[in-house]
C-alpha cells in the first residue's frame, strides 16, 4: 500500500501496525512523537493502530542530550 512518511511517498506491506513500522525503522516508541493523519497517536495505541492505504504519517524522533 502507498502511504506518506514524513512527506515522502513510501510503499508498505498491508496490515502493518505503527509499532511495527517504528521497529522496522529502528525507532523506540518511547523516543518518538507520531502523528497519523495529523492526530497524535499515544504510545499505548501504537501496537493496535494499523496503517491504511493513503495514510500520512509524521514521525519525529529524539536523541538524548541537553
Amino acid at each position: 500500500m502507498q502511504v506518506t512518511v514524513n512527506g515522502k511517498p513510501q510503499t508498505l506491506s498491508g496490515g502493518l501496525s505503527l509499532l511495527k513500522l517504528l521497529s522496522e525503522k529502528g525507532l523506540d516508541k518511547k523516543r518518538v512523537v507520531v502523528e497519523l493523519n495529523l492526530e497524535i497517536v499515544p504510545q499505548e495505541k501504537m501496537e493496535n493502530t494499523l496503517i491504511k492505504e493513503g495514510d500520512s504519517i509524521e514521525i519525529v524522533s529524539f536523541v538524548t542530550g541537553g
Binding site: V33, I40, V60, S61, F62, V63, T64, G66
Partner: protein
C-alpha cells in the same frame, strides 16, 4: 522600567518590547539547554518565565550549564532564578522544583504562550512534545547536539506550525560523545531565537 529594560529600547521598538515583556515562556528542564536559553531570553527582555526542573546543581554541570561553583547543591530553579534576577531584577519567575510527568505538564505550563523543551532524556523530550502539541502552544524542542564540530548541522526545523526542532537530529550524548558548551549553547541560542521570532510576529 529599570535601567536594563530602558536600555532595551535601543534595540526594540516600544511595541515590540511590549510584546516580549508580556509573553510568558515556559522552560522544561534547566540543564545545558534550558539554563542558557533562559539567559538569552531574559537578555532579549522576556520577563515572564515558568522554570521547571527537579535537579540540583552539580560540579559536572558546569562545563555547559549556566551555573557557578558557589551554587553547587542548590536546586536549579533557585540557582537560575538568582542569576537571571541579576540581569533583570524586574522578572516575574514562577519556579517549580518538580519532575514533569504526563499528569502535570499541562497544568504547569497552562498559561504559557510558548514552551522550550530542554530536557536531557529522549523519552522526556517526546513526552513533553506529544503532551503539549495538541494545546496549540508554540513548542521549541531540541535533539542532537552532543560532541564537537560541524556545528552548522545544528539546524532549526519547522515541523509543524507550532513545533520547531533544533539540532542535528543524530548526535546523541554518550560517554564517547559528551555534551559540551559550544554545541549545547548553539542549540540553546537557536531555541531562544525561535521563541523570540514567534513572539515578535504575533
Amino acid at each position: 522600567m529599570n535601567e536594563f529594560e530602558k536600555a532595551l529600547l535601543k534595540y526594540f521598538s516600544p511595541e515590540d518590547l511590549k510584546k516580549i515583556q508580556t509573553a510568558k515562556v515556559g522552560i522544561a528542564g534547566l540543564g545545558g539547554l534550558g539554563s542558557n536559553c533562559a539567559n538569552s531570553l531574559v537578555r532579549c527582555g522576556v520577563k515572564n518565565l515558568v522554570l521547571v526542573d527537579f535537579d540540583k546543581v552539580e560540579a559536572s554541570n558546569l562545563n555547559r550549564q549556566f551555573y557557578f561553583l558557589d551554587q553547587l547543591g542548590k536546586n536549579k530553579v533557585s540557582a537560575l532564578k538568582e542569576t537571571l534576577l541579576k540581569i533583570n531584577p524586574g522578572l516575574n519567575i514562577t519556579g517549580h522544583c518538580l519532575r514533569l510527568e504526563k499528569d502535570n505538564i499541562l497544568s504547569v505550563f497552562e498559561d504559557c504562550l510558548a514552551v522550550v523543551e530542554a530536557f536531557d532524556q529522549a523519552e522526556y523530550k517526546s513526552l513533553i512534545v506529544q503532551t503539549l502539541l495538541p494545546t496549540g502552544k508554540f513548542i521549541v524542542s531540541a535533539s542532537g547536539l552532543a560532541g564537537h564540530g560541524k556545528s552548522d548541522e545544528i539546524k532549526i526545523r519547522r515541523i509543524k506550525n507550532n513545533l520547531v526542532l533544533v539540532g542535528d537530529l543524530k548526535s546523541e550524548a554518550s560517554s564517547n560523545l559528551p555534551p559540551l558548551a559550544p554545541r549545547v549553547n548553539i542549540a540553546a541560542a537557536k531555541q531562544a531565537d525561535a521563541v523570540l521570532e514567534y513572539i515578535l510576529q504575533l
